[in-house]
């Protein structure tokens, strides 16, 4: 005791207190350690996987039930079940017998084994002796004879053993057959049952892996243990699922690392159609035909997820993967549900759902029309149409022509007042013009700026008119007829590119509506320019502007005068009445000084200004202002031939870091999408709240885009990314694809699809053809889709297979009449070079798999039986009812007139003609061309038919191909005048378009009488 007390005294601290402290801290330490493991073990993706497993179990059980129900009730299954139970009973009854038989079998098996052994021994002995004997014989040894005797003896013994063995074997087989007999039938029945329940068994097998309820005891334990902490590295059920794409890389600035996408860790149902209607994150991808599945063009193993969707593929929770909401509502929902905030440490956040098509552009940038990406296509088309590339360099649109009209001869076209009012507010003249508004915008609509703006516009107009060159206009031969003009405009094909619609409520912008906005809406044209100018322009657009896309419609003087008369009547009086503010020299002076001071000291600037007269000042300002606002980006303006675009390059705008966008004082989400959207809605808004001098202000004009247009353009902009995609992942750059791209680009530039239809796209003009038909022949005609089609520009599917390339080239250079009764006219595109025409022809050929540029003309022998049969078929089919044979007119009325068959020889390809004759509807749906009736072998057995079709046809009856080829051959021998336009024109001059007229609808037909065809 005493010792202990001393001990305590010797120590500074109370040791038992220390023990308690140590115990407490150790317990805390242990608890914290456990906490760290729990914290490390619990991951949100595991919860998702557990939920998914539940869902999967539920679904599979359902499926299992469904599969079970399929057979459970059936009589067949009941029968099998009954038989099985019968067998079982029988088996029980016979059990004694069976046991005995089995025992016997066992015994016989033992005998068989013993005998087999004995035989093996004797055979081995025999073989060894045989070798000895052979050696002795070869070396002439003395014991050879002795050995021979021994050999003989052993051989006899062996044969005896063999006999015994065979008997034993037979005995055994017999016995085992006896045993097997008992189970044979039962096995067969079981097999039958297996077949019936195969589907269910497969699902059950899946369930055994999935659902603990279906597992056996040991697996159930394993199911728990495999996912325990520490052990779960071996073979866990819940694990991170990742896809590594080696050749698509993420740029981490100093190096590139292969894409690793772990999205499927939570999105477990993404590949399985079964989950198409489940909620996120288990929902299947909506387009498995296009993405992810191994049969789609974009299998997940090759493309991953984030290469299109963006986001951080390596992340495994909701926030670290940088999910991005597609609407403020969703953002709010996520904030509540997931505590969502944007992870700013990743430069490429996930694309909000509405912009996802942007990613297509990464690889498909060279295509004009990207399949299944309507929004992106619309965005690209809008950018092309609004001419974004005029001010912003965009790689895709380099070397494109400026989209606005040439202003080099402006003075001959409009008045100064008109130009002033137009620049100040273009939409007040034409509600859907693409010309944007530069003035009266949020950053220049204060009173001071407005005054300045007015003088700026004066200066610009002055410059344009001062530098405008003379243009000699043709004089009109006569005042045209307004009504004739109206009909010409609506029938010749003007509406493929233009509209005349004063109603601003146009509805949704689509690629199809854009085709009809290719040229300007013609409302108010009479208030804009003079009839002489319109007339001259119509006669030859290239005369005024060599770079215009307006083709030449080969109008006669009369037609041009009629159209001029009609167009000149389309006026907008209120626009002309708008006041033009007076010129204010003080403000003009200030503007001059501002510009001069950029390069000069204040004193020098004032001296220079003093030397200028008013005209010089305006001219000086005009030039500076045109340069400042970048007018030359869209218009050819004298003096600005070599200026560079004024805007930011947009080629890689989608990769621009958000940090490099100036949000100013505008409170919107800091994302590219939000910035682009805001910029397009109100281009000058980021100046709000800033103090800036006039020339420091933002200059992008307001296009007044609609919401739909903005979303489409933003989609395209986000798509303009700098991505290093390996060639193997992009569409192949082979001849075929390149030719198609080139062709589609030209077809887009010249708006061919405004009139024509290819692959179901285009034909924007059709609705106006219907209107025209309605006007001249009553509403029932307008509703007849077949009639509208037969009076519309042609569908160009299979054009490459159809026509001979030389003919096509010739036709495109010098269009001529093909369908005699239609009014729509293929224009002459004088500005398209031979090179481009070749590209267009190659496009059609490549699209149809044609590779030959030169082909021999079709050789026909008139002495074959098939030719004679063809000739007869042609008579029977009465082709001459609708078709011209040279100058021979068809027997039916003009409504059903069809192309001149004398053209076949030089125009069409025989392979196509045969295929066409076989089934015209397959080529052009809704065509009026009937398939010729080709008799079958059965039919010609009827003597009446035989007599009717004639010997030649009958001989080949049943041989459809040969007969059709015969008919084709015949068509290639039809001769006559190929260009019958004069004859047709004469006919219509005489008879008019009366054939179309409904009986109750009369009036307009007569006016066609003197239409100058």
């Amino acid at each position: 005791m005493i010792e202990k007390k001393e001990n305590i005294q010797e120590r500074l601290y109370n040791i038992s207190n220390l023990n308690i402290w140590f115990a407490i801290s150790s317990v805390i330490f242990f608890a914290v350690l456990i906490w760290s493991f729990v914290d490390d073990y619990s991951r949100s993706w595991k919860d998702y996987q557990r939920d998914f497993r539940k869902l999967q179990i539920e679904k599979t059980n359902e499926e299992f039930e469904k599969a079970t129900i399929l057979f459970e009730g059936t009589a067949e299954y009941k029968d099998i079940q009954k038989r099985l139970s019968d067998f079982k009973e029988l088996y029980n009854q016979k059990s004694e017998e069976i046991t005995r038989a089995e025992e016997e079998l066992l015994k016989k098996d033992a005998i068989l084994y013993r005998v087999q052994q004995e035989f093996n021994f004797s055979k081995a002995n025999y073989d060894a002796l045989k070798y000895k004997y052979e050696e002795a014989v070869t070396h002439h040894l003395s014991e050879a004879n002795e050995l021979e005797e021994k050999l003989e003896k052993i051989h006899t013994g062996m044969l005896g053993d063999q006999l015994v063995l065979e008997t034993a074997q037979d005995d055994y087989d017999e016995q085992s057959a006896l045993v097997k007999q008992f189970s044979k039938e039962i096995n067969e029945t079981k097999e039958e049952k297996g077949k019936l329940t195969k589907q269910a068994t497969l699902i059950e097998r899946k369930l055994i892996n999935l659902d603990p309820v279906h597992m056996d005891f040991s697996n159930r334990i394993g199911n728990v243990i495999r996912d325990l902490p520490f052990i779960d590295f071996l073979s866990p059920y819940y694990k991170v699922e990742q896809i590594v794409v080696n050749d698509i890389t993420d740029n981490v600035n100093f190096t590139r690392v292969p894409k690793v996408d772990r999205c499927m860790t939570c999105h477990k149902g993404i590949l399985d159609q079964e989950f198409e209607s489940d909620t996120q994150p288990f929902k299947a991808h909506p387009r498995l035909d296009l993405y992810l599945s191994s049969t789609s063009p974009h299998p997940v193993e090759e493309f991953g997820c984030t290469s299109c969707h963006g986001g951080r593929g390596r992340g495994t929770d909701f926030i670290s993967t940088v999910h991005m909401p597609s609407s403020p509502e969703q953002e709010k929902e996520w904030e509540e549900k997931y505590d969502w905030h944007q992870l700013h440490h990743w430069d490429i956040p996930m694309l909000p759902a509405q912009y996802i098509e942007a990613s297509c552009f990464k690889c498909h940038s060279s295509e004009t029309s990207i399949k299944n990406a309507d929004k992106l296509n619309l965005g690209l088309n809008l950018m092309e149409r609004t001419g974004c590339f005029g001010c912003h360099k965009i790689e895709k649109y380099k070397d494109r022509d400026k989209i606005g009209p040439n202003l080099g001869k402006l003075a001959s076209k409009v008045t100064k007042d008109w130009a002033y009012n137009w620049i100040s507010d273009p939409k007040s003249f034409r509600h859907n013009t693409w010309m944007p508004r530069f003035f009266n915008q949020p950053n220049n609509n204060d009173a001071e700026s407005q005054k300045r703006s007015k003088q700026e516009i004066h200066s610009i107009v002055y410059y344009l008119f001062e530098h405008s060159t003379d243009f000699k206009m043709d004089s009109r031969p006569l005042e045209g007829d307004i009504q004739k003009g109206e009909i010409l405009v609506s029938s010749l094909g003007c509406f493929g590119c233009h509209r005349i619609e004063s109603d601003p409520s146009q509805g949704k912008t689509t690629i199809e509506t854009l085709r009809r906005d290719h040229g300007p809406n013609l409302i108010g044209i009479g208030s804009k320019t003079t009839p002489d100018w319109v007339y001259t322009w119509l006669k030859d657009p290239q005369k005024y502007s060599a770079s215009t896309k307006m083709p030449n419609l080969r109008l006669t003087d009369g037609e041009a005068a009629d159209i001029t008369a009609y167009l000149s009547r389309l006026t907008k009086e209120d626009f002309l009445e708008k006041k033009v503010s007076s010129l204010d020299e003080t403000i003009v002076d200030n503007i001059v000084l501002d510009f001069l001071k950029k390069m000069n000291s204040d004193k020098d600037a004032r001296i220079k200004r003093a030397k200028m007269n008013l005209g010089e000042k305006l001219d000086f300002n005009g030039k500076k202002l045109i340069r400042m606002y970048g007018c030359f980006g869209c218009h050819d303006i004298p003096g600005f031939e070599n200026d560079k675009p004024i805007g930011t390059e947009l080629t890689f705008e989608g990769s621009k870091l958000v940090e490099k966008l100036d949000f100013g004082f505008i409170e919107i989400p800091h994302s590219r999408e939000a910035w682009f959207t805001q910029k397009l809605e109100e281009p000058r808004i980021f100046d709000q709240g800033k103090v800036k001098l006039p020339d420091e202000k933002l200059r992008m004009p307001n296009f007044e885009f609609t919401e739909i247009e903005i979303e489409a353009i933003v989609t395209a902009l986000i798509g303009f990314v700098k991505a290093e995609i390996p060639e193997a992942k992009k569409p192949a750059r082979n001849d075929r694809n390149l030719a198609i791209e080139e062709g589609e680009k030209l077809i887009r530039i010249y708006n061919c699809l405004g009139c024509h239809t290819i692959d179901g796209k285009g034909g924007a003009i059709r609705s106006t053809i219907a209107t025209w038909l309605g006007d001249i022949a009553g509403s029932s005609s307008a509703e007849d889709a077949g009639l509208v089609q037969s009076f519309s520009p042609p569908i160009l599917d299979t054009e490459g297979r159809k026509v001979q390339p030389e003919w096509l080239f010739d036709f495109l250079k010098h269009p001529s009449m093909i369908r005699p009764n239609i009014q729509v006219r293929m224009p002459s595109f004088m500005m398209i070079s031979d090179e481009d025409w070749n590209k267009i022809i190659k496009y059609f050929q490549v699209k149809d798999g044609q590779t030959l540029v030169y082909e021999d003309s079709h050789q026909v022998s008139k002495f074959t039986s098939s030719f004679r049969a063809g000739e007869r078929l042609q008579e029977l089919g009465e082709c001459n009812k609708c078709h011209f044979y040279g100058t021979t007119f068809p027997t039916q009325s003009a409504e059903t007139w069809a192309p001149n068959l004398a053209l076949v020889k030089e125009r069409l390809r025989p392979e196509w003609v045969s295929a066409w004759l076989n089934d015209p509807q397959e080529f052009i749906k809704g065509t009026k061309m009937p398939a010729p009736s080709i008799p079958t072998a059965e039919e010609v057995k009827d003597p009446y038919v035989l007599e009717f079709v004639g010997e030649d046809v009958a001989a080949l009856a049943g041989n459809r191909d040969v007969l059709i080829n015969g008919l084709t051959d015949y068509l290639y021998t039809i001769t006559g005048k190929t260009d019958i336009s004069q004859e047709v024109r004469d006919y219509f001059n005489e008879n008019g378009y009366n054939f179309l007229k409904d009986e109750e609808f009369e009036g307009t037909g007569d006016e066609w009488d003197d239409v100058d065809w």
Binding site: E10, R11, L12, Y13, I15, L18, W21, F22, S25, S26, I28, F29, V32, L33, W35, S36, D39, V252, N253, F254, S320, H344, H345, W346, D347, L657, E659
Partner: protein, 355 residues
């Protein structure tokens, strides 16, 4: 605030009798009592609790990176208070000719085990607990891949170097990044040779080592800890100065046009152009610097630091005073910058020699 701290500092930690007199007069030593300690704690807590109601303050104070610095403020305050409390108590005992608190009979010894090692073990366990809890509760932030075209704004040094980074605002890199850190190390190495005072070993006392404690505290609290706190909480984007409750607006601009001493002398006072000759141009600066280092030491030796000079002797006094002058040059330069927009005292950009 810095001015307040600088002005009051030597009254709180008086290096000589004059300051000590004032210290007594204001009863500033009351800070080092329990009441004073609680008051400091309450003051700090109130400030932070009040501050956390402000969004901008909260954003910066609770950022995982900055939490240690918040801890640092409390810990430095606590340990300064604790040591000074013990020192004050000891001073009183010494005045009363009592033995200091920590006094032990030299023969009275304890065993390493359990009295030392056991306690260390417990402390070790608890420290580990703290680190584990910290790492779970405030996970290390995962930031984006380094991007050479996009440096983070503000770009901050690790917290323990923020003092150096702060100096870079006022001095050229060769001074702030090379000379000063070197002098700091030399200074720390020189302490045992400069401070030969044998009193105050093994216990805290202020009176016995007024000079040593106050100068060390100045270097440690003002020139090091305070600059770290400023660098962490008050330096925002573009290294602009932001008040504790101010929003860190990346677009904030501060007028930063500064001029050199030579411009002051020749252009503003003499209203003539700068002379061609570099030496002539910078003569004012040279005089000032030389005066600072050559005239001030003997001046102090004759006046305020007379006793010290006698005690240390010529050489050690020189080393000591030079080190102190270098240390003082930082606040001096700061004030010159703030009050006069002074950029450099000597500016010879031709030879990259700017002071």
């Amino acid at each position: 605030m810095l001015t307040f701290i600088l002005l009051t500092f030597f009254f709180i930690f008086p290096p000589n009798d004059w300051f000590y007199k004032w210290n007594k007069k204001f009863k500033l030593d009351l800070i080092w009592t329990n009441k004073g300690g609680i008051l400091i704690l309450l003051g700090l807590l109130t400030f932070f609790l009040f501050g956390l109601t402000d969004e901008n303050f909260k954003l910066i104070a609770l950022k995982p990176d900055n939490v240690p610095i918040v801890g640092l403020i409390f810990l430095v305050a606590f340990f300064t208070w604790l040591s000074m409390k013990q020192a004050t108590e000891n001073d009183k005992r010494i005045d009363n000719n009592e033995k200091v608190n920590e006094y032990h009979d030299p023969d009275d010894k304890v065993l390493t085990w359990p009295d030392l090692v056991y306690i260390e073990l417990i402390a070790l366990v608890l420290c580990t607990v703290l680190l584990v809890v910290w790492s779970i509760a405030l996970p290390a932030p995962l930031e984006q891949p380094a991007n050479p075209t996009l440096s983070p704004n503000p770009s901050k040094a690790p917290w323990y170097f923020l003092g150096l980074q702060e100096m870079l605002v006022y001095f050229d890199p060769w001074i702030a990044g090379v000379l000063f850190p070197t002098l700091m190390l030399i200074g720390l190495m020189a302490i045992p040779y400069l401070d030969t005072n044998k009193e105050g070993v093994g216990y805290y006392s202020f009176k016995q080592r007024k000079m040593a404690v106050s100068f060390f505290m100045f270097g440690w609290l003002v020139l090091w800890v305070l600059l770290i706190v400023i660098g962490t909480f008050l330096r925002g984007p573009n290294w602009n100065f932001f008040g504790p409750f101010e929003y860190w607006d990346i677009h904030k601009l501060e007028p930063l046009t500064n001029i050199n001493l030579s411009d002051y002398i020749y252009i503003i006072w003499f209203r003539s152009g700068l002379p061609e000759n570099i030496l002539l141009r910078e003569i004012g600066g040279f005089i000032l610097i030389l005066g600072y280092f050559l005239i001030l030491p003997p001046l102090f030796a004759k006046t305020m630091l007379k006793k010290l000079y006698q005690k240390l002797g010529n050489f050690r006094y020189s080393v000591f005073i030079i080190l102190i002058l270098f240390a003082m040059s930082l606040p001096i330069k700061m004030y010159l910058r703030w009050l006069f927009n002074l950029k450099y005292i000597i500016a010879i950009p031709e030879y990259f020699f700017n002071i």
